[in-house]
Symmetry: C2
Subunit: 320 residues, 2 copies
C-alpha cells in the first residue's frame, strides 16, 4: 500500500480539465494497491479513481485491460469503467506514467468472507466469464504453468531457508504440474487474481470487481481454482468445504462445468496455489529491506498446495 508517484495539484488540475467531469474539488492518495498508485478524485460529477500504472504493469497490456473493463461494464457487470477524455482517450499520461481515470465503485472488501460472500462470488465469477465470451482482446497468461519454473529457479537455492526440504518438494511439484497440466479445457477471459481485496460487497451482494491487471485468456476453470485458494481457507489454513460448495454451486448454476473441468479442478487448484507460492517466494527473498510493501508469506500457499495434492476429485470441494 503506497503512493509511488506524487502528482502535484497543478498537474492533476490540468489532467482533470480534459474530462467532462466538472471542476476538481479534491484528490487524495489511497493507501491501497500494491502495484499501482491510486488517487481518489472528487469532482463536480462525483467520485473517481485515478490510477497511475507503475513499473510492474506492461504498458502494452493496458489497452487490453481498459477495453476489457469497458466491455464488461457494457454487459452490466459492475467494474471500474474507464472514463474517456474530450478526445475519446481512456489511456493517457500523467507525471510520466500511463494513467487512466475510472468510475468509483461503492462497496467494501471483506477481510473474513463468509459462506454468503462465497456464494455471491461464485455467481459473479460465472457472470464475468459469460460476459467476456465475445470480448475479442488477446493476452496470454504470463503466470501459467510454464512460467512458474523460471521464477522458482531464481530463488530455489534459498527456499530451504524458509522450511527445510521446501526446494526439493516444490521441484517435484513443478514437474508433476508441468507433466499433467490440462491443455484442452474451455478457455475465455479470466480475472486470474480474484482475491477478497478485489471484490467489493454491500452486505453480501457483490457490488463490483476491481483490479483486472492480471486478466488474460486461459482456462475458465483456473479462475475458479484461484478463488478456491483465495476464499475457502480459514485463517488457520483449514479448508472450509461449506464455503467452497456455496461458491462452486453458485458458479455452476450460472455456467455449467464440463466433465473435463470437473475432473481438472484438483490439479488446477494445486497449480493456482503454486502460482501464488512462487511469486510470493520470489518477493519474499528479493524485497529490499525497509520496502514500503511487506511481502506476503509464501508458506501459506505451500500449505494450500499440500491440501490440494491429496484431493482426489472435485466432490471433495463440495461440488456434486
Amino acid at each position: 500500500m503506497a503512493v509511488y508517484t506524487e502528482v502535484p495539484d497543478e498537474a492533476l488540475s490540468q489532467f482533470v480539465a480534459d474530462y467532462e467531469i466538472g471542476a476538481l474539488l479534491s484528490f487524495k492518495g489511497i493507501a491501497e494497491g500494491v502495484e499501482n498508485t491510486n488517487y481518489l478524485v472528487h469532482a463536480e460529477a462525483g467520485n473517481f479513481i485515478l490510477t497511475l500504472y507503475e513499473k510492474r504493469v506492461n504498458p502494452a497490456d493496458l489497452p487490453f485491460f481498459l477495453e476489457l473493463m469497458e466491455h464488461l461494464s457494457g454487459k452490466g457487470l459492475t467494474c471500474p469503467l474507464p472514463v474517456r477524455d474530450r478526445n475519446g482517450e481512456a489511456l493517457r499520461t500523467l507525471c510520466g506514467r500511463p494513467a487512466a481515470l475510472m468510475t468509483f465503485l461503492d462497496g467494501l472488501w471483506v477481510r473474513r468472507p463468509g459462506v454468503e460472500h462465497c456464494r455471491a462470488l461464485g455467481g459473479t465469477l460465472a457472470a464475468m466469464h459469460k460476459a467476456a465470451l465475445d470480448f475479442p482482446g488477446q493476452r496470454r497468461n504470463a503466470l501459467s504453468v510454464d512460467d512458474w519454473r523460471p521464477i522458482f529457479a531464481a530463488v530455489a537455492d534459498r527456499a530451504d531457508t524458509l522450511q527445510p526440504g521446501l526446494a526439493a518438494e516444490m521441484e517435484g511439484e513443478l514437474r508433476f504440474l508441468e507433466t499433467n497440466w490440462p491443455k484442452h479445457l474451455p478457455t475465455g477471459i479470466i480475472h486470474a487474481d480474484l482475491f477478497p481485496d478485489n471484490v467489493f460487497f454491500l452486505d453480501t451482494r457483490v457490488s463490483g470487481l476491481i483490479d483486472f491487471y492480471f486478466a488474460c485468456r486461459d482456462a475458465l476453470a483456473y479462475d475458479i481454482a484461484v478463488c478456491l485458494n483465495a476464499w475457502c481457507f480459514e485463517p488457520d489454513l483449514s479448508f472450509n468445504v461449506t464455503k467452497a460448495r456455496a461458491m462452486l454451486t453458485a458458479y455452476a448454476g450460472r455456467r455449467r462445468l464440463t466433465g473435463d473441468e470437473y475432473d481438472a479442478l484438483p490439479i488446477l487448484a494445486r497449480g493456482a496455489a503454486m502460482r501464488f507460492f512462487v511469486t510470493r517466494l520470489y518477493d519474499w527473498l528479493n524485497h529490499p529491506p525497509g520496502a514500503f510493501v511487506r511481502p506476503k508469506d509464501p508458506l501459506e500457499y505451500a500449505r494450500r498446495l499440500r491440501f490440494h495434492r491429496v484431493v482426489r476429485s472435485a466432490a471433495e470441494y463440495g461440488l456434486d
Copy 2:
C-alpha cells in the same frame, strides 16, 4: 504518509452504525498524514474522514482539539467538524485507538503557493485567530522556546554530521532566543503548524483548514511567523517578499497588529524556524532505517533561520 492501523471492514461497519450518516458504502485508507491514520469514509450521507490517533498524539489533548474544531466551525470558519454519534460522543475508540469521524472538506492543498494563495491565507489566519478569541480551552504550546533546547540537546553531538559548525551555531542561537523571546504579546489560540498541506484551496480561495493537532494558546503573531517560514520561501530558499507582503497585509486588514507584535516579528520568525529545525533534526538523526515516512531535511530550516537573523524589522517582510 501511511496507514498505521488497519481497520477491518466489520469493525468499521459497527463503528459507523453508531452515527446518523446512513449505510456505509465504502472506505479507503488515505496516504496522507504523517502522524495519524486517516480513512475516507463514504456513507449515504456523504464523504467523511475517520482519524485514528496514533502514538504521537497525547489522548488527553484530543478533547481540546475536537472542541476547537467545533468552535471554529460554529463561527463559520471551514475546518473538519467532528461528527457526534447517537450518544453525543465525538471522541471514541476504534481498534484500540482514539478515533473521531469528521466532515470531509473539499479543496486541494497547493504544492507551490502563489501570491494570491498567500494573500488568502493571511486573511484566513486572522479570521481563525478572531474566531477563537472566546474559545475557553487551554493547551500550552509544547514546542515553544523552552522546549527547543532539550530536543536539540538530545542530538546536538551529531548535528555537525549534517554541517560542520552547526551545533555551535544553533547553541548560540538558542541562547539568543531564550534571552530575547518576547513574553507579553497578545495571545490566543494558534494553529502552530499551518503549512501548505494543512490549507485547502479551491482556485485561490481558502476552502478549509485542517490538522489542528498542534493548536495551543500562544502569541498570535507566532502563528504568522510560522506561515512566513512555511509559505514565503521559494524552493531555492530565497525569501519572496511579495508573498510575505500579501500575506501580512491581508492579515493586518482583518486583525490589526500591535506595535509590539510588529517589532517582534523577526525574532518570532527566527524562533519558528528554530522550532522546525530542532524537531526535524531530531527526526533526521533518529528515524529507524526503512521507516515509512522519510524525514524532512532540517537544514532547510537552518537556512531560513539565517535569513531571519539579519532581518532588522518587519518592514523587510513587506509590512508597512
